[in-house]
């Protein structure tokens, strides 16, 4: 008997058209062409047919299967579009309309600069040390070989705490007057007192100077101290390390140049110049056409500093340096006035 499969095909197509959800649609498809589907079963039954009928039945069933698959795909698209419409998605997507605004904050340029310094020096094995902002005269001056009644004291205009605040607080302190630290160098003393060399540290932090303020000076600002103490540390090593630091910090090959200077806590002492970041050494208005910018002070740790901290200067030697972080930030981010760093103007801060 010749069987007619068109009725079955129509039935399947109707069911597909009336399916309301993707799930229903899947079920309909399974019902007809699934493993145990009606069409599938007919195909499996072909071998039971008379030999003469087999070819025709096979071809009809195959056509039916293709038609069902086509109807399924169409219905699937319809349902997808309908779902999209229902979910409110507009048909016209205006890709030029702004994206949803993300509310973000910003970190202060001095924080960013400290982080960068920490990373660069950290990669060279430097740890980060810190000290208090209120210091004693001993840590800020005497231990650093800056005795009272010595003209070297004039190099640091100092804020002193009122005398009644200056009662002995730290028993260890030999000199009990209190002040706002004028540099980060006291951290050298504090660190060497509590650690045995070899030592490799940086110490960033806030320092204070009693001086007139202008576009380049503030009564409080930030410094980064560096200290390396080992058996065989030289001026040549200092140049290499600081050159590497500047190179990474500013992102171009910087060279440094040392000039004689004087600091009570280093001997020899240097003023350090670096390749001008503006003209890259060619000479411009920023560097008075010299190609060099004066950037920091440094030197080999003075034996009296070692003596003050109980380190034997016959066994250990090393270098120390101090960089102004405000100046670094100003150079890196092209900030023309140091006051911007402390005024909190969001039109400035939001750029970071």
């Amino acid at each position: 008997m010749q069987r007619d499969f068109s009725e079955l095909e129509q039935e399947a197509k109707n069911a597909i058209k009336t399916a309301q959800t993707p799930k229903e649609l899947e079920a309909v498809l399974r019902l007809y062409t699934g493993k145990e589907g009606k069409i599938t079963r007919e195909i499996q039954a072909i071998p039971t047919l008379a030999v003469s009928e087999r070819a025709e039945a096979g071809s009809a069933l195959n056509t039916a299967k293709i038609q069902i698959a086509k109807a399924y795909a169409e219905r699937q698209d319809e349902l997808k579009q309908r779902a999209q419409k229902e979910s409110g998605a507009e048909e016209f997507l205006d890709v030029t309309a702004p994206g949803k605004k993300i509310e973000y904050g910003s970190l202060h340029p001095l924080t960013l600069v400290q982080r960068v310094c920490g990373e660069i020096f950290g990669s060279m094995g430097f740890s980060i040390a810190q000290g208090p902002e209120i210091e004693t005269e001993w840590y800020n001056f005497d231990a650093l070989n800056i005795p009272a009644d010595h003209p070297a004291r004039d190099m640091w205009d100092t804020f002193w705490l009122k005398s009644e605040e200056a009662k002995s607080q730290r028993p260890k302190t030999k000199n009990p007057r209190f002040l706002l630290r004028t540099h980060t160098s006291p951290v050298q003393i504090r660190y060497l007192e509590t650690h045995t060399p070899p030592v490799r540290i940086i110490a960033p932090g806030r320092v204070f100077r009693y001086e007139a303020t202008d576009a380049n000076h503030q009564i409080n600002f930030y410094q980064l101290e560096g200290l390396v103490v080992d058996k065989d540390i030289s001026v040549a090593n200092f140049s290499a390390i600081i050159q590497e630091f500047f190179k990474r910090f500013f992102g171009f090959p910087v060279t440094v140049r040392l000039r004689p200077s004087y600091f009570p806590f280093t001997e020899p002492s240097f003023e350090v110049d670096m390749t001008c970041v503006v003209c890259k050494g060619k000479g411009c208005a920023s560097c008075s056409h010299s190609g060099w910018l004066e950037i920091m002070g440094a030197g080999m740790v003075h034996p009296r500093v070692f003596n003050a901290t109980g380190v034997d200067p016959a066994k250990w030697q090393g270098f120390a340096f101090g960089i102004g972080l405000d100046r670094l930030a100003m150079m890196k981010y092209k900030i023309n006035d140091i006051r911007l760093l402390y005024e909190g103007d969001l039109r400035f801060l939001r750029q970071f």
Partner: protein
């Protein structure tokens, strides 16, 4: 310090051009601030380093230039020093202080007051010194030339021809040349004349400024030229405590060579003819302890070890001998230092002299060879960075402010009543505006926000993390780390609270924190009813609240403002840095909502607590998604809507179980007579 190029040239043969001199000085010795043509001469402003008293005169700087230019050390010219006695009662000078290292003087009879020669006036003019008369100009010129301060007294004004150099007693006064009176602290060097106690007077502030009573004037005929050397520390101390200085005092305070007094007086004698003339009748030289050259032992490999550059021993020795040092030995060098180099006392000082003359730019940069060593971690710092990151994520901008608050701020913020004691004062405040050390960060943050509010219509969200200072009960000054933030905008309080909740979540301490509103005390910046203490367990770690209307007014904010202030050290101590993962729930949650109508003044925290207590451990999430009052809600009420999730760690909850928990919660909420469940 100003130097005349022409005068330098008289000391150094073949001195290169002024520009070349500048460049040499900059790279080998001192910074040069400026170089400027003045008439035929050129003046160089050289920043002589504070330890180099030997370069305070032209002769000294010329000596330095000779070393740099590789010229041999100049030989001292021997002059004849002779006095022709007679005509004046000999001057008697006594020293009673150990701080006078040498006192040399000449007494000159029959000098005629007149102008100094034109060449001398020209030099003085170049150096910015006013010409006065032959005698004063002579002393000024020789000081510039040799770096040895000189002073001229009128011999006839010294009572009893007798002078005593002694230390002052507290409160003594001396009338100075410029008609001012200096009231002296104890221990300042002064010169007193007269033999009998009744006639004695202070006639000079030694080493700093001459006294009016012994000053030379138009009628002066007989003169005492003093070339003394005083202890640097004493002069420095005096000029500091009097807050007064002169060129002579500045030179003395650096420390100079006692061997230089005689050459200076010889120069006086040499130039006297041109400056008024007269006969030297007496020479005085009191030198209690003759300066002997220091000897320093330096291992010959030390320069190389310190500098990291190979400098042949021959070269090092040559540099040192040009400086006037005598060098002996090969492995261990013995270096004898000339008396004028008071700054060289250690082997490291020798290394510096060799290094800078060799040229630091000739030292090749070279990385050290050190063992690979991981840096120590600095938890305090890392945790501070976590806090900054969290607040930045919350949309806050970091500010960094001054460590000071003003006198007016202290009053404005209510430090006037008793609390002022807590403020740390400075002995030398910068100004009224920067008067006290900041007791907190809020004062400055409010000011910064107010300034920003004038420039923007957007919400302001800022924070600062920094050191603050307080005085504890008695005298102890405490320095601590604080974290403060501020929001100005329509929804200020909840933006601020959202930010600190985010902060606590990022530091993984959210579940340790609660908000205490039980406090009755007045807060400095925030409204009494709009403030919560932030607590961790029983510990107060900070405060959050709405800023007082009076402050909003005085800072002219147009929106509500909220602030928070947290003890950053306490926060760091709480922070949990390690992450330990919890299992992801294996069984699905069942989600339900619940809404409750309560009086306006009900704290939502109380409702949450009630829900949590009644639901028990199967309640896995509780979140407020709406707080509503207005249309459809009775007057004086608000509607609080919650999302709830129920979940079990070991089975799938049935809808029935969820419903029964919902009913349990509803019953317990409705036990409060003025709360009602809305469906």
């Amino acid at each position: 310090m100003l130097f005349s190029y022409a005068l330098l040239k008289t000391f150094v043969s073949d001195l290169p051009s002024p520009e070349k001199v500048r460049d040499l000085l900059v790279m080998r010795a001192f910074e040069v601030e400026s170089i400027e043509k003045r008439g035929k001469d050129t003046v160089l402003d050289v920043k002589i380093l504070p330890q180099r008293g030997d370069c305070a005169g032209h002769k000294g700087l010329a000596r330095e230039l000779s070393v740099i230019l590789e010229k041999p050390a100049a030989k001292e010219k021997q002059r004849i020093f002779a006095a022709t006695r007679g005509g004046l009662i000999p001057l008697r000078v006594q020293l009673s202080s150990k701080s006078v290292l040498r006192y040399s003087a000449l007494v000159v009879r029959g000098s005629a007051m007149r102008e100094s020669p034109a060449w001398m006036q020209a030099y003085l003019q170049t150096l910015g010194t006013r010409a006065i008369n032959g005698i004063v100009d002579l002393t000024n010129y020789i000081m510039a030339e040799l770096g040895q301060p000189l002073h001229a007294f009128d011999y006839d004004k010294i009572r009893d021809s007798s002078m005593l150099v002694r230390e002052s007693k507290q409160g003594e006064e001396v009338l100075l040349l410029d008609d001012t009176t200096a009231r002296l602290p104890e221990g300042t060097l002064v010169i007193e004349d007269g033999k009998k106690a009744s006639v004695r007077r202070l006639v000079d502030l030694a080493g700093i400024k001459g006294g009016k009573l012994s000053a030379i004037d138009a009628r002066t005929k007989n003169i005492i030229f003093q070339a003394a050397v005083f202890k640097a520390e004493v002069i420095y101390k005096t000029k500091k405590s009097l807050n007064y200085t002169t060129q002579a005092a500045d030179i003395y305070a650096r420390g100079i060579d006692p061997e230089g007094t005689i050459p200076a007086l010889e120069r006086v004698q040499e130039l006297l003819k041109e400056c008024g003339g007269g006969t030297v009748t007496q020479r005085i030289d009191i030198y209690p302890k003759k300066e002997t050259p220091r000897k320093i032992r330096v291992p010959s490999d030390m320069p190389e070890r310190y500098l990291g550059a190979r400098i042949p021993l021959q070269k090092s020795k040559a540099i040192l001998s040009r400086f006037g040092c005598k060098v002996a030995g090969t492995k261990l060098l013995t270096v004898q230092i000339p008396t004028w180099r008071k700054d060289i006392s250690l082997p490291q000082d020798i290394v510096e002299e060799i290094g800078r003359i060799h040229g630091y730019e000739n030292i090749q940069a070279r990385m050290p060879v050190l063992p690979l060593q991981c840096p120590e971690s600095n938890e305090e710092l890392e945790k501070a960075e976590d806090m900054r990151d969290a607040l930045r994520e919350a949309g806050f901008s970091e500010t960094i402010g001054y460590s000071f608050i003003g006198k007016k701020d202290a009053a404005d913020f209510g430090y006037s009543q008793g609390k002022k004691d807590a403020l740390v004062e400075l002995q030398n405040p910068y100004s009224e505006e920067y008067f006290y050390l900041r007791p907190g960060l809020t004062e400055n943050i409010l000011k910064v926000a107010a300034a920003n509010a004038r420039n923007t219509k957007r919400d302001i969200r800022i924070f600062e993390l920094g050191k603050t200072f307080a005085k504890e009960i008695t005298v102890k000054v405490v320095e601590s780390r604080s974290l403060s933030g501020l929001v100005a905008g329509a929804n200020a309080f909840f933006l601020a609270k959202g930010a600190i909740q985010h902060l606590f979540a990022r530091l993984r301490i959210a579940e340790k924190i609660w908000y205490d509103v039980s406090g009755e005390e007045n807060h400095m910046f925030t409204e009494k009813g709009g403030t919560a203490r932030i607590k961790a367990g029983s510990r107060n770690i900070g405060i959050i609240g709405r800023v007082l209307p009076s402050l909003i007014d005085s800072y002219k904010f147009q929106t509500p403002v909220a602030i928070f202030s947290i003890d950053a050290q306490a926060l760091a101590a709480l922070e949990t840095r390690g992450i330990s993962c919890k299992q992801i729930p294996r069984f699905p949650a069942v989600y339900r909502d619940i809404a409750v109508l309560v009086p306006l003044e009900t704290a939502v925290a109380d409702i949450e607590k009630e829900i949590q207590n009644s639901a028990g451990p199967l309640l896995s999430e509780l979140e407020i998604f709406d707080i509503y009052r207005g249309k459809g809600i009775p007057e004086g009420k608000k509607n609080i809507a919650f999302h709830l999730a129920y979940q079990s760690p070991d089975r799938t909850l049935s809808a029935n179980e969820a419903e029964s928990l919902q009913r349990k919660i509803a019953q317990s909420l409705e036990k409060h007579s003025d709360w009602s469940i809305r469906i």
